[in-house]
């Protein structure tokens, strides 16, 4: 059911929009091309933002800093009920999508997908987003320099969700 929904969602949206426009007499293709031109310009505007963010993330990932911080956080985290194995994922999830996905895939092989840890890591991964990248791209596309409290509020949201994920898996 769920798989069916996500596989037909896009074709249905296409059908609905183009059919409605056609019936209403809107010049469908002309408008499509006009909109697509704006889209192309936006995509070019985002490239420099992507290069910058990915370079920063790469510097962090390549340096092994995550392992060092994990070591430092181990004691306090375990006291709070957060398993040591979850710390690296919690640290990099908001910053790097590809690195966190790679880490998640490697860890779940090791701990087993149906153990408490495997479920906890899956829930962390499934309920969170690469906050920094998303915000940088969205605000970069809109030419916003001062994002005010966006990053702070998103990190609050991210960590509340990820910590909740671990505790929910302990209970459920």
């Amino acid at each position: 059911m769920a798989e069916l929904l996500s596989s037909i969602a896009i074709p249905l949206v296409f059908l609905l929009i183009t059919a409605t426009a056609f019936i209403k007499g809107v010049p469908v293709f002309d408008n499509f091309v006009e909109g697509a031109k704006e889209g192309a310009r936006t995509a070019f505007d985002i490239l420099p933002v992507m290069v910058g963010i990915l370079a920063g993330v790469a510097a962090l990932n390549g340096s092994g800093l995550v392992d060092i911080i994990t070591g430092l956080l181990q004691k306090p985290a375990e006291a709070a009920g957060i398993p040591r194995e979850a710390i690296p994922l919690l640290l990099i999830r908001p910053f790097s999508g590809s690195a966190s996905l790679g880490l998640f895939a490697a860890q779940i092989e090791k701990v087993g997908p149906d153990t408490f840890l495997g479920r906890a890591l899956s829930t962390v991964m499934g309920s969170s987003e690469t906050v920094l990248y998303t915000l940088a791209v969205y605000f970069g596309a809109a030419n916003v320099r001062n994002t005010r409290h966006a990053i702070a509020a998103s990190l609050v949201s991210s960590y509340a969700g990820m910590l909740a994920a671990i505790f929910i898996c302990r209970v459920l």
């Binding site: 070019f44 990915l54 370079a55 829930t123 499934g126 969205y138 030419n143 966006a150 998103s154 969700g161």
Partner: protein, 206 residues
Amino acid sequence: MLNVIWVIMLFSGIVTGLLTGRSKEVSDAILSSCGQAVNLAIVMLGAMCLWSGLMKVAEKAGIVDALARLLKGVFRFLFPGIPKGHPANGAIAMSLSADMLGLGNAATPLGILAMKELSGINGNSPVASNAMVMFGVINAACIQIIPSTVLIIRQQAGSENPGSIIPCVWVASLVSALSGVIAAKVLERVSKVPGGKDGPALRHPV
């Protein structure tokens, strides 16, 4: 704020690399990230054109307006200050729906479109409006009905029931979204727009 965060990321990565003798890894990673960014951007270029074009058609056909009217109540609370019947309403609705359905390739272009609409309402100012921040935060909270990527990886790892985590994901996403909305609403009182109608100049421009 990215002005600060970016420097911190680069600086801590490079210095740690120097201290731990991993400079070569750092250097390789930085250089290969440029190619990665271009690949991502090219994939995005096509998706951006497709969805921007389709959204333009939807706008002209009045679908965006209809969608916006449907979600009026929630939007008035979350994104105050969007004029009635403005295309931003519909763009936000489309983008959040794509997010929830886990349509990654559609969600990003639609999100960018919505953010640009919101920026237009904000006079294309370089300072984000409350509605723009709220939209960014909700997007980053990522309420996904079916976390398909995670399910695929669980299946590959030999899980007996890959979908068993879905209820947990829903609860965690809800916690994440609610705390994000609350954090944004609370922080918007503190983080004033410099010289804007929301208050006096910001002491620490971020």
